[in-house]
């Protein structure tokens, strides 16, 4: 039995998320079915973290234990061939033999997300389901000022979903960069770990800063209130990408 580390891309649009569900497709289910397809083994594939319905991944990481003679390259081909046969919106980007003691979730030292806003008058076409469309002017400088209050070690209760299962609301936000790239506004967010909906709730609040609903300084007050109702709405799933997991 060998433990393999898989790096994954998926399109969350038609998925209920990472985790296997009884009532619809998930990235985990597709990958486990693909593995069964070429090994005949019923395996459980563990990811660095769950993603919600509609959220995409460019660099999710998972591990799987397989009894196989295929090398990493052949495994990659076998996974992707079976995923294509299943018409899964999932691909395996990279397969490596995992280091001793590796666990996709517990060994992870950090996670990175990006969030894409399409900021133009016309709705997205080529990037449909890939961005949050906001047709009005956003003040990116104000958003950056607001974002600065979120960096560092804080109680992020104001940005935490009710369903969040984390033991503590204390997290350390290492990066929250906001850049304009053509018609898009891109958030790059990094931390050791995140609360449920934390990135989408931060983006939803910073969008309110961007359109002038609230002042940048208000983000500090919202954080200090430790109350979800103080912050802005949850930004839609379709703009969010799990971009990397650091080990």
């Amino acid at each position: 039995m060998t433990r393999f580390k898989l790096t994954l891309e998926y399109d969350g649009t038609t998925l209920l998320g990472w985790q296997r569900q009884l009532d619809g497709p998930s990235a985990q289910e597709y990958l486990e079915k693909a593995a069964f397809g070429f090994t005949g083994q019923e395996v459980e594939i563990m990811a660095a973290g769950r993603t919600d319905a509609g959220v995409h991944a460019l660099g999710q990481v998972a591990h799987v234990d397989l009894d196989t003679k295929l090398n990493e390259y052949r495994l990659l081909q076998a996974f992707n061939a079976h995923l294509r046969q299943l018409e899964a919106p999932v691909a395996v980007l990279k397969i490596e033999v995992a280091p001793e003691g590796f666990h996709a979730r517990f060994s992870a030292q950090g996670r990175g997300y990006i969030y894409r806003i399409l900021n133009r008058a016309a709705p997205p076409i080529i990037d449909k389901n890939r961005v949050w469309w906001l047709p009005y002017k956003l003040d990116i400088e104000a958003m950056r000022q607001g974002a600065a209050y979120l960096l560092g070690h804080h109680d992020f209760s104001s940005f935490r979903a009710a369903a969040c299962q984390a033991k503590s609301p204390l997290k350390t936000l290492d990066k929250l960069d906001i850049e304009r790239l053509g018609e898009e506004i891109i958030f790059t967010v990094e931390a050791r770990s995140f609360l449920h909906h934390q990135v989408r709730n931060m983006v939803g609040t910073l969008k309110q800063v961007g359109n002038g609903e609230i002042a940048p300084e208000e983000v500090k007050n919202i954080l200090e209130k430790k109350d979800r109702s103080a912050a802005g709405p949850t930004a839609p799933a379709c703009g969010l990408y799990l971009s990397k997991v650091v080990y």
Copy 2:
């Protein structure tokens, strides 16, 4: 009656192309239906050039004559609202009052295309139907050498589809740049006008240079043969984008 210039984005995946067809959806039909939806006028919308089934547009240009009191901004909103209602994979990016004597096709001074290759082991997921997937190594330097023979004024018969209706196979290719951007190889191609399938046939041939099937110098021989069967296969439509029309 006012003539308006429309700048358009569309996703060609489910379209039979730009032009109205009896047997399926087209960008033209969606736009004409949208215009009818808010003006009640049966209009004909003329584009700078036809695009084939599956080919995308980031900057197609068209014109339409409308009897309307709406200003450009309201027209943009009306078009896009009706296109969304039709679930059309088409958006109007910009509307301007056309200059005197403007004709989307006959006034055009140049066209620009981009062609996207995804060059990695794993198939495209987020960019499904947006790129040509080539999983093996491509020598971009050799492709550039081959591309250099195509620049300038030539008889492009070797890169011309049998169905091409152009009067002459003589065209002047102003730009054919090839760049690597992450996992992608991007072609940027510009000319006053192109033969039918010219860009896709050039890309299909340069891909053969990239994977070593033919030497870069062979592109010169292919061009001189003025025979379609001398060149490589037509690259798939899904990687091609009409990116701009210059007036």
